[in-house]
């Protein structure tokens, strides 16, 4: 059965290659969208959860005052850890990227802060907001940053991105189905005499349909495989660019799609191809 499918594929190699390329291109778009979404998701997980609050201290607070404030903050149930970051430390940590202008800037430019790390399970956005309001009332505190606006923007982007990816995926799946279905219909048309002979000598339905179903599955699967490989190459190239520029600053490393997603893409591609082929057979093998 497999041999007969391969024989059929070889017969119209040009058409089949075109169809694999088209399927690959379509699935590449979809997998690309998935990859972007995956990384956006990782970013939201990293930055989006309200796990960090920065308390900016007013100028002129004494060491004792700051320390008692720090202990009071650490005692709050939402707070896991409170750490004092002096102006000098802030300059040092920001300059760690190797930027000499930061490292040599006057220390007064960097505000002293208390960095709060929140208990991840305990914090909803509302509780973080209420903690921030309470802390803001303390005289020594100049400002409280909860990174909330940023978080919400990211989440909004992610929701929009998911919707867009859904639309792309739907279009791509339809496209793959149609391309494979049309290709199989063409190879059916080219082999009508063969099918007539097979029927005449008593071939069963599955014996006749089998090679075409395999052909469809191979077109879909091969297209998906090419798409995944292409995406891997593009990803590797983009990552090199990204790591030397943005990566260090954001502290985020781009991730590739997990292998389960890649395997489902290839599997799904072949299943969709087989479905497209079945549709072509339904229309082409009547009588």
């Amino acid at each position: 059965m497999f041999e007969r499918a391969l024989k059929g594929l070889r017969q119209q190699l040009g058409t089949q290659m075109m169809s694999v390329a088209t399927v690959a291109l379509a699935l590449f778009c979809m997998a690309g969208a998935l990859l972007v979404l995956e990384n956006a998701g990782a970013m939201v997980r990293r930055w989006g959860a309200p796990v960090k609050v920065t308390v900016f201290l007013a100028e002129g607070a004494t060491v004792d005052q700051v320390d008692s404030l720090r202990r009071a903050l650490a005692a709050l149930p939402e707070v896991e850890e409170a750490r004092y970051v002096s102006a000098a430390e802030a300059r040092q940590s920001l300059g760690a990227g190797g930027d000499r202008t930061v490292a040599t800037a006057p220390v007064e430019l960097f505000p002293a802060t208390i960095e709060l790390r929140l208990v991840p399970s305990a914090v909803s956005a509302e509780r973080v907001a209420s903690v921030a309001t309470r802390v803001r009332r303390i005289p020594m505190v100049a400002e409280v940053e909860t990174y909330r606006g940023f978080t919400e923007r990211l989440r909004g982007l992610l929701v929009g991105g998911r919707a867009a990816a859904g639309v792309i995926a739907l279009g791509v799946l339809l496209c793959v189905f149609a391309v494979v279905s049309n290709t199989v219909r063409m190879s059916l048309a080219a082999r009508l005499r063969e099918i007539e002979v097979l029927r005449l000598v008593g071939a069963t339905r599955s014996y006749i349909r089998g090679p075409f179903l395999i052909e469809g599955a191979m077109l879909g699967g091969a297209g998906a495989l090419v798409a995944v490989i292409l995406l891997g190459v593009v990803f590797a190239m983009v990552r090199v660019q990204y790591e030397v520029s943005l990566g260090a600053v954001l502290g985020l490393h781009p991730v590739f799609l997990p292998w389960t997603v890649l395997a489902s893409l290839v599997l799904g591609g072949s299943m969709l191809g087989a479905l497209g082929s079945a549709a072509a057979l339904r229309r082409g093998l009547q009588s």
Binding site: E196, V197, L200, V201, G202
Partner: protein, 264 residues
């Protein structure tokens, strides 16, 4: 022409349950009872055909063009379905066979057409072997049986040639090899000489007679009067949608054929 074995062993493959009915071996191979086939309501093609064909018979089916010869054969190998009546193949009614059983029926019937119906881009071997491949036989068995069949039709050693380069007579021999390679109980021939010149037509007729001598039942549809004249076989005429026996040969037919049969 070597014939290695007598091929009248009917295997009732078309029974999905695989049960062998030993009584079937003693029944006529084919019985048509009151068979009706209507394509257009105002002009039924077959209107009550009754016909019994015994195992090992050679039967000519004739009648003018459009009489329903092809339709009759199509009903037997289930390319068409009867509108009424029964067709008993070894005692079993095949008129209403399920879709799944049709392939198994066809493995017991070899069919040869006027227009050959070969796959032009396949070799002679492939065109014959396909009948055994669909049955799932091992390649070694297929090779030897195809070789025997090609030898019987006078094409031994020609297996590797593409059929598209063969002459009409040779192509028809390939289809005959395809029809007999499974050693079927019945061979149906639908105007197999219609595309061949008279000398070749006689050769092909001789080939079918040899096949019949091996025990295979042959039903040969033709409107070629020459063939009917040279071969004193049982003759069935389809006239006005019914089958008429013409036991006395052509002479006994009177005017029935005069309006339709051409003499090549």
């Amino acid at each position: 022409m070597g014939r290695s074995r007598v091929s009248n062993n009917f295997r009732p493959h078309f029974r999905p349950d695989g049960h062998f009915d030993s009584a079937a071996a003693h029944k006529p191979i084919l019985v048509l009872e009151n068979v009706m086939k209507v394509f257009r309501a105002d002009a039924p093609v077959l209107r009550g055909v009754d016909l019994t064909i015994e195992r090992g018979e050679f039967v000519f089916v004739t009648g003018p063009s459009g009489a329903g010869k092809s339709t009759l054969l199509k009903l037997i190998y289930k390319a068409e379905t009867v509108d009424d009546g029964r067709i008993l193949f070894c005692g079993r009614d095949i008129a209403r066979l399920t879709e799944d059983s049709v392939p198994h029926l066809r493995r017991n019937i070899g069919v040869v057409f006027q227009d050959f119906r070969l796959v032009p881009y396949w070799t002679v071997f492939e065109n014959v072997a396909v009948a055994l491949q669909v049955m799932g036989l091992p390649p070694r068995v297929i090779r030897s049986r195809v070789a025997v069949a090609l030898e019987r039709v006078g094409l031994d050693g020609r297996g590797d040639e593409k059929v598209s380069v063969l002459s009409g007579g040779e192509q028809q021999r390939v289809t005959i090899a395809r029809a007999i390679v499974t050693e079927p109980a019945v061979v149906l021939a639908d105007e197999p000489t219609g595309n061949l010149d008279p000398v070749l037509a006689l050769d092909i007729l001789g080939l079918f007679e040899e096949i019949n001598e091996g025990g295979t039942t042959v039903i040969f549809a033709t409107h070629d009067r020459t063939l009917l004249e040279v071969s004193p076989r049982r003759l069935v005429v389809i006239d006005d949608g019914r089958c008429i026996e013409a036991r006395a040969g052509l002479a006994g037919l009177g005017g029935v054929l005069d309006h339709g049969i051409s003499i090549n």
